[in-house]
Structure formats: C-alpha cells, structure tokens
Assembly symmetry: D2
Homo-oligomer: 318 residues x 4
Amino acid sequence: MARQVELTIGVDVGGTKIAAGVVDPAGTVIDEVRVSTPATTAEAVETGIVTAVEQLAGKHTVEAVGIAIAGFVDESRATLRFAPNLPMEERPLQELLARATGLRSVVENDANAAAWGEFRFGGGRGSKDMVLLTVGTGLGGGIVLDDRLLRGAFGSAGEVGHVRMVPDGLACGCGNRGCWEQYSSGSALIREARALARSRPERAARLLDLAEGDAEAISGRMVTQAAAEGDPTALGLLAEVGRWLGEGIADLADILDPAAVVVGGGVSEAGDLLLQPAREAYEALLSAGGHRPHLKIVAAELGNAAGLVGAADLARHP
Amino acid sequence: MARQVELTIGVDVGGTKIAAGVVDPAGTVIDEVRVSTPATTAEAVETGIVTAVEQLAGKHTVEAVGIAIAGFVDESRATLRFAPNLPMEERPLQELLARATGLRSVVENDANAAAWGEFRFGGGRGSKDMVLLTVGTGLGGGIVLDDRLLRGAFGSAGEVGHVRMVPDGLACGCGNRGCWEQYSSGSALIREARALARSRPERAARLLDLAEGDAEAISGRMVTQAAAEGDPTALGLLAEVGRWLGEGIADLADILDPAAVVVGGGVSEAGDLLLQPAREAYEALLSAGGHRPHLKIVAAELGNAAGLVGAADLARHP
Amino acid sequence: MARQVELTIGVDVGGTKIAAGVVDPAGTVIDEVRVSTPATTAEAVETGIVTAVEQLAGKHTVEAVGIAIAGFVDESRATLRFAPNLPMEERPLQELLARATGLRSVVENDANAAAWGEFRFGGGRGSKDMVLLTVGTGLGGGIVLDDRLLRGAFGSAGEVGHVRMVPDGLACGCGNRGCWEQYSSGSALIREARALARSRPERAARLLDLAEGDAEAISGRMVTQAAAEGDPTALGLLAEVGRWLGEGIADLADILDPAAVVVGGGVSEAGDLLLQPAREAYEALLSAGGHRPHLKIVAAELGNAAGLVGAADLARHP
Amino acid sequence: MARQVELTIGVDVGGTKIAAGVVDPAGTVIDEVRVSTPATTAEAVETGIVTAVEQLAGKHTVEAVGIAIAGFVDESRATLRFAPNLPMEERPLQELLARATGLRSVVENDANAAAWGEFRFGGGRGSKDMVLLTVGTGLGGGIVLDDRLLRGAFGSAGEVGHVRMVPDGLACGCGNRGCWEQYSSGSALIREARALARSRPERAARLLDLAEGDAEAISGRMVTQAAAEGDPTALGLLAEVGRWLGEGIADLADILDPAAVVVGGGVSEAGDLLLQPAREAYEALLSAGGHRPHLKIVAAELGNAAGLVGAADLARHP
C-alpha cells in the first residue's frame, strides 16, 4: 500500500525529445512517456518537461521528480545554468516544476545522472567507487566515490573526454589538442574507418560493402557489425578505440582508484570487442599492478534509460 | 578546562625518523618530539612510534592518535598493509598502539594525511574540493572531495605521479613511460639542471658556481636559489617543471573539478617561480575556460608538518 | 657577343598564372612576362607556357628552357606525371616545347627548382649541401647534396612537410597524423592565431585590431606585422612555428648533415622573428653538438623568383 | 693475369679487433686475417692495422686499401678526426699507411662503408638510392643517393639513430629525448624484454627459461630464438621494434625517397619477424601512398663483412 509513495519520476531532456518514466525503488521503469520537443526556445522545452511529468503524475502517485539534462547545473541542483545544445540559460527548473505540478524535484547533469543509475542498478552495482564512461559521439563520464555522486566545485567533475592523452595531438573541437575523446569515441571510430576506406579500400571491403560503396556513409554500427562477423579490419578499428580507452582508464585509476569502470554509450554495444582491448591496455600499464587489486572494466547495463533511472533515484534521496 | 580532551597526537613516520606532535583543534602544534629510527625491522619502527606517543601523552591529556605513514593502509584505517620504503607488511598499528598506550588511533597514508592537513588548516582552507600535489623527489598527491578525504576502492587514490603525460615518454621507475613525475618533480628538475650543466656549461654558469664546479652536485635548492637571484637558466628550468605541473592540473580539473590545487613539497619552496608558470599552462589549456570558474593554484602552508597535523585532525574526527 | 647564347628561360607554372623570365648565368632575371592561366584544362596551361616562352624567345637569343611545376616529374625530366593542383597528368612537356618552339628544355618539380635557385644564387650560395624549407601554406622542401639536386628514386625527395613530428599528433590532409607542416607552416600560424583570438580575445587585441575585429580574417601577414611592432602574442605565435621548424631541422641534420638550411616561403618574411627561435630550438637539440660544426639557418634571398631562376639554371646544365 | 691488380684490401677497425680481407671486384673476400687489438693507445691500433695489411699484401698483389672505422673522418678521407670508442684523435691514417706499406688508401666511417658494401654487393644491389639501417646495440645508418655515398657537410650524414621520434620521449645517452634508437635497436629490444620478464614473468616464461631464470640475462638472441619458435611474447617484442623501424623509414622516405632500405645489424637476424612489422608500419603511414611506387625494405646480405667489403670497394674507386 505504502509502496506507491516511493515512486518517483525521472526525466531525460535531450535536444529533440524528452523521455520521462515512473521508476520504483528497484530502478524499474513501470511507465514511460516520450514528448518530442522543438528545441527552439527555453519555454518550449520547459512545457515539454511539465507535460511529460503531468501525464505520468496523473496516473501514478509519485513522491518527487529527477531531471537529467545535458548542461551545467547549480550547486543546489535547482537551476540549469547553461546547456551547450539547448536554448537555455539560467532556468530555475526546480521552481518551475514546483509551481506547475506541486512536486519536489532535483536537477542533475545527464552524464552524472546516468552514472548514478549505473551505480545503483546497472554495471556499477555493488561498487562504492565507480566511473561511468560513455563512449558515444564524444566521450563523457560521471563519477561516484564513496557512494556519492561527484559534482565538483563548479559542477563539472567527470568531463573526462578532454583529459589530454597526447601533447600536441589531434585537434579537438574544444580548442585543445590531444583530448581523450579524439582517440576514444564513436567519432574517432568513424573517422578512422572512413579514412581507411578511402586510402585502403581493399582492406575495408566489408565496411564498404555495408555502406553500399560510400566510404563517407560508414557508421559506427557498421563497424560493430563487421567486427561481430569477424572482419579483421573492423576488429582492429574497435581494438584501437579500446586501447586508448584502457590507457585513459589507467590514468583514472591512478587518480581515483575506483573499483569499477562501467562503459556505456553507442560504441559499447560492441561489448568485449571494445572492452577486451581496453582491459589489456589497462593491465599493460599497471606494471606496479602486483601491489593492488585491479579495477574491473564492465559494460553498462541500462542503455539509454540510465539517465532517466538515475535522475529518478537521485530525486528519491535528496 | 574541557579544552585538554580535544588535543590529539599526530605521528609522521618516515624512513629515518619519526616526528610526533600534540595538535589542538585549530591545527597548532603545541608540543613536538622527534625519534630517529633505524628502519631495519618493523619492531624498531613500531617501538619508535610508541615511544614518541608515550612521551607526549605523558605531558598532555590527549584524546586520540593519528599515524601518517608512507604506505598502503587497510580500509578500516587500522593496519599498514605494505610500505615500499619501510620493512613493514601487514602490521596492525592501531591494535599495537591501543595495547601499548590505551589510546584510540587511525592510520593513514602520509600523502593523504598531508592533504587533509592542508585542507583543514593550510592552503586548501575554505575549499570543499581540493587536491594537494607534493612536488618532492617524486610527485605525490592527496585528494579531498566534498569535505571528505578520497581513499579509493583499494586505498590508493591520489597516486597522481604516475598519470601518463606523454605516450612513449620518459622511462619511469614504475616500469611505465611518460609518467607525470618524470616531468614535474624535484628529480626532474635536478636531472635537467645537471644535463644542461654538462652539455652547456656556459649557460649553467651560476648553477655550476653554486655547485663548486661539479655538475653532478647541483641540487634543487641551488636551482631555486639561482632562480631567486634572477638567473635566466634556473628560471627556465623551474618554469619547465611548472609548465608540466599546470598541464597535469588541467587534466585533474577535467576529472575532479576541484576549487583549489595546493602545491607542496621541496620544489614548491620556489613559490611563484614554480606556480606562475603552472598557472599559465593551466589557463592555456582551458580554452573552454570561459564557461566555468577556474580553480586556484596556491602554495602549501604547513611545510613538513602537514602530515602530522593532518593525521592528528583525522584522529579527532574518526 | 657570345654572351647571348648563355641566356636561358625559366618558367614557373602555378595554379592561376605562369611567370617566365630570361635569366643570365649569374642568376639575374633580365626580362620577364606573366600570363594568367585559366587552369581548366591541360591544354590551356600548356598554351600559356608556350606563349610565355615564345614572347621571351622572340626578344632574346636563348639556349634552353627550364620549367618549374608543382607536381611529380619523370626521371628523364621530360614529362609531368601528376600535379595535385593542376588538371594535368602524363603530359610530355619537353616534347611539346620542342615541337612548338624548337627549344631544348628540362622539367622539374617547383620546390626542387627553387632549392636549386637558392643554392646557386641565394641563401645557400657557397654550401655544397643545403636544404631549402619553404614555409608557406604548407611546408615544402628541396635538397641539394654534394652540389647535386636530390630527386629521389621516384622523384619525390624533399617532401619534408609530411615527416611525422608527433605520434598521434594533429591530423593532416594527407591522412596521417602529426606531420611537420601541421606545426610549422603558414596554415599552422593562422590556425593558432585565430584560435587564440577566439578563446582569448584580450590577448589577441592587436591581431583583432588588424583584422577589423574578425578573428577568422587574421592572416599570416597580420601576425608578422604585429610581431614586427613588438606585440608579444604575435611574437609568441611566430616563435612557436619557429621552434617546431628548428626541431625538425635537427632531424634533417642527423640524416643529411647539410651545411645550410635556407628558409623561404611567405612566413619567412618575418625574418629573424621566425629564424631566431628556429636556431635556438635546433641548438637545444644538439646536445652532442660539441663534436661537430653546426649548420647555419638563413633566410632565402630570391623570394618568388627562386623557382624561375632555379629552373633556368637547371636548363643551362642539363 | 691483369686480374691481380684489381684486388684491394678492406680493413674494419673495431674496439677489440681488426678484421682485414682481400676483396675482388665482385665483392668476394678471397683471403682474410684478424688481429686482436688492445685498444689502449692510438699507436697500438695503428700497428694492428699495418700488421694486418702487411700480412695480406705479402700474399696478394693489391691496388689499394680501404679502412672502415667507427668515427668521424675528414673530408679528404685521409684522417680520422675523432672516434668515440677508440683512443684516437686527429690520426692521419692515410699518410701512415702510405709510409708503412707504400699503398694508397681511403678512410671511411664504418657505417658508411657498410652502406656502400650493401649497396654494391648486398641487399641494396640494383638500387641507385638506398639507406642502410644497422639495428644493433644502437641504430646506425649510411646513405647512398644517386650512386654516391652521402658524407654530409661535416662528415656525419646518416646518423639516423638520433632522429627524434617522440617529443619528450625516452631519454637517450646523447642527452636528448625520444631518439629513434631508444625505440628501435637491440638495446630497446633487450630493455623491453627484461622489463616484461620482471613485471609479468608468466608472460615471459620462455624467455626466462632461455635465460635460466634471470631476467637480467635475457639477450637479443634469446628473444629472436623464442620468436622463431613461435613464442607470442617474443614475437610481440620484435614486432614493436619493427613497428618503430617502419615508422621512421616512412620519415626517411619523405625526405630521401630511396628505392630501398636495407636492414642489417644483430637484430636483423630475426629476418621477417622484424621486417614484416616494419613493412606494415611503413605502409600504414603512406596514406598518400597510391601516388608513388613504394620503397622495398629488405635484409642486409653481407653480415659483419659489409664494412670490410665496402671499404675495399671504396678504395677501388677513389
């Protein structure tokens, strides 16, 4: 009976759509809605959030709302400060939601929310110290230390994609050179696959086949598919991304000493074809490794729902 | 009156001597003893610790003891697991001290204890999230996040000296290549100073002068002295170490987002001659820096007492 | 009287115009014509070449013609094999010119011709072994060893711009990473100047001033002008390009041991603002430098005429 | 009959012994002597040279002598300027030999002489432009361009081992960092093999077996033997040295455009276990490779005799 009051809503606000779900204390999404958002104005996005919450709150008794959003959030987790890919700046989302729905809420960066979701219910379950690495278009991250989400002094902890791996290395959109995500991300995978298909078409025959002959149409998914079939070129491309991933994980281990690194994002669908090279590169850098237990590198388990589920859980424990 | 019960003892166990002090809640060392230790057996070191504590406890009413020691400590902060530079393995120091003195104690890694000391009473005062970097023979570190000391899953968080700065870079004693401490440490400073004095004696005239003509006798202190006098070669050598320091701090900022980085260790006695180049290198890597407040890079304030003071304070808040 | 028969014509074939000149044995251009070329077909370019030669040959008694062209030339120096920026492939230019004008000719890669020009009459005069580095949009080169132009087994010696300076470094249009010209060229200078103007406008105030406020309008010439005025940011940008230049020259010295490196191209107009940092970086890498004489790094002297003058001289000594 | 006058003597002067041989115009050694030299004084070495030449000249009618010696030789190829590993400086060897034996001679750097030997009679036969890379303790080289030995302006062309492969890379005995020979040489092979045997003894089981359990006793020959047996660790170690070899060859190709790179030295006894990874790394860096023929990477054929045979041939063509 009392069970209903323990339900919370998680909202994942993306650039083109909003996903919201009712989540129980075990992390199960028991109901879900999606609202497509014309991300043209802050008001349109906010209306979408309120609409999604109202739809779910009309059907379930919920305790609170967690909002996961790709941007910087203030320290009190009430206001979205700045969102690179949304037309929003200094928006008091917590206040807005309270006024519109009467519900208590917390706002959190989406990568952080996803890290929390994986920590509580996914690949990081059972570890007190965990890093989530999201290998998607870029390389994102979230950190949980000693059972707490690390937010950082200015709300930007876990921006691991811009750690410098190579001095004077590949140029990054951030203006720096040699950023980790230039070597270990879906964009890196696609860039290298296409470059190879242009310069060595005979070696990329299977990839070109999947892309109907157009090197520029090769996608990350095609590389994963070809690798799963055993294509050595595709396996090599994934292994290279995995190698850089493992080398960066060794750095994170020196600094944070987590028990687990959970790898999510689109490229992680390649599973051990990505993770095994990452583990080997990590191990190879641990020459002093005999003296301490090694962290485990595992796949994320919640997929796209991680942010929503994590936000809902953060709302439960304010 | 109740004042006395708030005193604690901090003990800093080094390879050749043990320093112990009575510390008040404001971090002031009100009494101190030093015991030289023939670090030949675990028993000799432990006898030294007990002796030092007994001397102080005989004169002051103390509540508890904090032991800072260069090694890996178990999760319950009771047992020294392994100390690279001491003949000690699996030593239950907490139990030993309780039996010998009746006092409650906590055992902590010395770099962690020093970080805590600077966080509470030194350069990190007033920041909730702080990293201490100790630029001594090597490059050590300790991390405080959200007002808590980061210990890591296996007790080795903050081992920042072995973060890889350069793929296939300078060989490190740890077996890897390109470790940060090969570029930013007292050893790096001395190595480069001596190499320059050998290959370009005319440019290292002031350094050779201080070393009475023997390139191999150039010390870090001599470089600092020459730099303080304005010698351009010495300034350049310190600036190079500082540049690498700042570049690594930019990586730490991406991961941890601390409010402050406190720089201690012998080389930090050069003050702004080291820190200003570090700040400039850090700033130069923050091209996306407009969007967030910058951390401050400041000098440590407690000198050699940081470990002792930090350990004493950790003992107070078990 | 006999003087006239020693005249030759040099032709420099570029993407938009053809420059041709009558050159005497001392390397002096005594007459010159320019033909603008619509580089749409091979025939149009060839007609331009023939026209220019005929105009000059009508006024002077000339012995032979040297054609400098940006492309790969066959071993007998008769046929243009392939030109990346011209619509020409497998064109027998020597035969064409003989048929159209009755004159003997040699065809040479333009960077090689320019190297020969500087070797005979410019900055490399008096050295038997010399490298020309052309720091323009990219980084080109030509090599003279033991008084002979180095052509290489496949006609592509001296393509120094694609020597790898940084493993996994900046992406290059050639498909590789870390190529020298990504760090030391006019494009590199402009890229870094604009990036700085975007991220640190206050530091690039003088450059933005020259570019009327538009970071994307900053040119290499503006950087040189600001540097000549003493602007520290512009000086730093040139020094960085110069540093990479000198570091690569140290590699060339290990391999080729030339007596001189002559630096030409648009960026070299900055003179010692570019060359002095190059010299310092070169010297710094020569720690074993005591054992051998050092090469000299000097400015090119012939400017845009180097290719034309060099080609004319190559025609004289077939 | 006239045949005898075409014989010459080649002398290879090493640190502990002198090898001399009578060589015919086809590069065949038809007689040979060895003299062990106590390399304590210049005179002792010179007496050894004269003794060896006299022994051979007593039995054969020879035309001239070529002396290959590890050091810097003057431009007229008459005087040894400086030899890092012999007690000799400014020694007029040509004059000495003329006085003692009445024979004409040329003196040449040993790596250059070996390159000439391979060019004329070994792996470089048939190429006009060739580089010899000697992968021994260090990484040495000699260059033949357009059928001529490249000596360089100061006699030190071909010192390729100190080309910088990695900025801020592994420290080199020369005082610089990141030199090619730190990554591609017998010393590099042994260093990595021993490091692996220390840190991962289980993976280096076969190597430790060959070294009777002592990691520090692992030799390059043991790695080659284990690799020939199929041991994956040894294969990986050789492949790593080969990879760096090929990457540096790509740089040489950009500069020199040789038709062939001939690989000699002790490590080259591993044959294709070294050369195949080198070829693959070279090919991988040639993304613009479609436009030009590729150089071939082949094994040296003359072994230790290359210097002696090359010197003898250089003496024939003064």
